[in-house]
């Protein structure tokens, strides 16, 4: 059993997990709840083992480094963090209804990592610029932030669905009345955004420190840096609109969904659509 097999299995277990959560949501079968959670935890542990094994394998190849150094590894870590965050939310708030909106994101990330043709999966050695502990700190902090924003976007979709069916009247309400209340979702969107904002801030800062130790410039306005700042501003604006202008509900849900677009562009679009200095994370 090697790491790529484990991570390949993870893709399918997350798919199955997604189906279970959607089933729970649509058919309202609470008895399936514990099994769904159990299954997701097992899938998460398989992925954890896969990541750990990949780490070990890199040492066996004599080029040991944490598995966080190219596009493939970062997408896998992104999926892992989404599930970790989601399971924490399920545990803290004791509700499984969010699963159908969060777990698919992890599945999509894993599916992309496994099947996209343009990202290399091999364990490759680190070029000198990437040999830095600040890089590891940078990747972890950024991706925890991204994962939180992804969960916030999932919650945003959930909010809009519930809101719409409530607006549509009684008959439809029944479909979503087992979802948490709108105010609960709204509050949770805010909490996950705050969580993501702190991690993204730390991510930008550790990235700046890394750049400074490698090139002597903590900020050079390269497209990747600039987009991370744009994303950061986007969430800062959202927090201000909520805190000082009282924006809530539908607007914040929409902003949470729009925010993930900016995140995806920072993370993905810049590497593949714009040319930049940021060699890290590009295809190969």
């Amino acid at each position: 059993m090697d790491s790529s097999q484990l991570l390949g299995i993870t893709t399918f277990t997350y798919l199955f997990s997604t189906l279970l959560y959607v089933f729970l949501l649509v058919f309202k079968t609470p008895r399936l709840g514990p099994i769904t959670t159990f299954f997701t935890v097992v899938a998460f542990l398989i992925q954890t083992a896969g990541i750990a094994l990949r780490w070990v394998e890199s040492y066996q190849m004599g080029i040991g480094h944490a598995p966080l150094t190219n596009m493939y590894e970062s997408v896998v870590f992104f999926a892992w963090t989404i599930i970790a965050l989601y399971l924490a939310i399920e545990w803290i708030f004791n509700t499984r209804m969010i699963g159908a909106f969060a777990v698919p994101l992890a599945f999509l990330a894993m599916a992309y990592a496994s099947f996209a043709g343009n990202i290399g999966k091999s364990i490759s050695p680190l070029v000198p610029a990437l040999q830095s502990n600040w890089l590891i700190a940078h990747v972890i902090t950024c991706f925890v932030g991204y994962a939180a924003f992804a969960v916030a976007a999932g919650l945003g979709i959930m909010y809009l669905l519930k809101n719409q069916s409530q607006a549509a009247g009684e008959s439809l309400t029944a479909k979503t009345d087992h979802l948490p209340s709108l105010s609960f979702i709204d509050d949770l969107i805010h909490k996950t955004m705050i969580f993501g904002f702190i991690w993204l801030s730390a991510g930008i800062i550790t990235g700046a420190i890394w750049a400074n130790s490698a090139w002597g410039t903590y900020w050079s306005w390269d497209p990747k840096e600039t987009w991370s700042l744009i994303t950061w501003f986007f969430y800062a604006i959202t927090l201000h609109a909520r805190y000082t202008r009282g924006w809530a509900g539908k607007r914040i849900a929409l902003l949470a969904i729009l925010g993930i677009v900016s995140v995806l562009f920072t993370y993905y679009g810049v590497n593949f659509l714009l040319s930049g200095l940021h060699s890290y994370g590009s295809g190969s």
Partner: protein
């Protein structure tokens, strides 16, 4: 006066903040779509003469240092400063307030409020502040005749969290400005065994005097088995007035600093020149020669002549070099040597060892940035402030004990500026404690 008030209100407003932040975010996108720092010809070629002209006027090719982008950052700073000045005094008042001076009616209207009454005579002997001194609540009590009024709070400093966040952004700007005006960014190429006192700025390639000498003693590259570069390393020596101060190996991510100037490993260049070390094995006499490709040099004391007559390279990197070596009147010897490899040669009855290495220049980025520590301090404060603003809250609890005609009444009231559900739990815990104490007391 009215105008000033209007201006003040404008600059203190969050609307302006949202507008400015949005403007910075949206205009920043331009610089990620249009390549920065290219020549005018590049833009003419890519976008046409008219558009290139338009770019020129708006400083698009260097937009992050354009007047209007600095203007937006300045607006953000002004907004932050005035907004903070506008709001901070009120916050300071809350932090330092005498909470026992507030009118009772206000306490009674708090979001969390509970009241107990009992006719028990012994009841007024309970020292509530002591009874409720759990979980770190420290009470202050004011006696008002037979009645007493107590107050406890936690996390009042969390109210400055938001101001630390906003202030830290200004601190980062200050650090960046200091770096801009009192620092420089440049680079230099130094061949092995050479030294320099000057480097050249990125901005206009002007030379800058370092005030000391830096020498490149050696440069080396290591490769992984698959051919990817593993390590670039330069051995550098700092000299002052001809005296060696210290030597350090630098690598990417591991620079050298001296007198506020930092040298970063950034590039290299392979030359068509070689370093040859010849050692007379019998006497251990050794000399290093800098040997241009296909030129003959000599070590006259030993009556030796030598040169590199051929070389095999991939790109800039020489893999093998063919040495031509002649001692005295003996026939010349030719031999292939791998880069950095050593061979032994016998000529004229004497043994020599030869080592040949391609000559490299190391490319160094050179930066002086006296503002960087201020920027880092700002970053640290930013994280601290965010933590305080998001995860800590100011919780206040009042306790009022009143002797009435029929017995004693106790009021507990409190509020929190954030995270109300968590506060509700804390409040319930105190309520339970009071109920228990009363129950316990009544049973005695």
């Amino acid at each position: 006066m009215k105008l000033i008030n209007h201006l003040w209100a404008f600059f203190a407003s969050v609307q302006l903040a949202i507008l400015t932040l949005s403007s910075i975010a949206i205009t920043s996108i331009i610089g990620t779509l249009i390549p920065q720092g290219e020549s005018h010809a590049f833009y003419v070629d890519k976008f046409g003469a008219k558009t290139a002209m338009f770019f020129q006027i708006l400083d698009i090719p260097a937009m992050y240092s354009s007047w209007w982008f600095y203007g937006l950052l300045g607006l953000l700073s002004a907004n932050l400063i005035i907004c903070s000045c506008d709001r901070f005094p009120a916050v300071w008042q809350i932090i330092t307030a005498d909470n026992l001076a507030i009118p009772l009616e206000r306490v009674e209207k708090m979001s969390s409020f509970q009241q107990w009454s009992t006719s028990s005579e012994r009841f007024d002997s309970i020292d509530w502040p002591v009874a409720l001194a759990t979980c770190g609540w420290r009470w202050h009590t004011k006696n008002l005749g037979k009645n007493s009024f107590s107050f406890a709070q936690k996390g009042r400093w969390s109210r400055v969290g938001v101001y630390i966040v906003h202030g830290s952004i200004l601190i980062i700007f200050v650090g960046a400005i200091i770096g801009h005006f009192f620092g420089f960014k440049g680079s230099v190429m130094i061949p092995e065994l050479h030294s320099t006192e000057k480097i050249y700025t990125h901005l206009n390639s002007m030379p800058i005097d370092l005030g000391f000498t830096i020498r490149n003693d050696a440069f080396g590259i290591e490769f992984y088995d698959n051919g990817m570069p593993k390590e670039y390393k330069s051995t550098l020596t700092i000299l002052e007035n001809g005296r060696e101060i210290f030597q350090k190996d630098i690598k990417v991510n591991n620079p050298l600093s001296h007198k506020g100037i930092t040298f970063y490993q950034s590039s290299y260049q392979g030359h068509q020149e070689f370093l040859m070390r010849i050692t007379d094995t019998a006497t251990s006499e050794s000399r290093q020669f800098s040997l241009p490709f296909q030129q003959q040099l000599s070590w006259d004391d030993k009556n030796l002549r030598f040169g590199i007559i051929n070389a095999e390279a991939t790109g800039q990197r020489v893999l093998r070099a063919k040495v031509w070596f002649k001692g005295g009147e003996e026939p010349a010897i030719t031999e292939w040597l791998t880069n950095n490899g050593i061979i032994s040669i016998t000529s004229g009855g004497k043994n020599y060892s030869l080592q040949v290495k391609q000559l490299y220049s190391t490319g160094l980025q050179v930066a002086k940035d006296p503002g960087v520590w201020i920027v880092y301090a700002g970053c640290g404060l930013l994280l601290l402030g965010l933590y305080m603003a998001f995860f800590l809250s100011h919780k206040r609890i009042w306790l009022y004990q009143q002797v009435t005609a029929t017995g004693v009444s106790v009021f507990l009231a409190g509020s929190s500026n954030k995270n109300k559900p968590a506060f509700a739990k804390v409040f319930t815990r105190l309520e339970d404690l009071i109920s228990q104490t009363i129950g316990h007391h009544d049973r005695e």
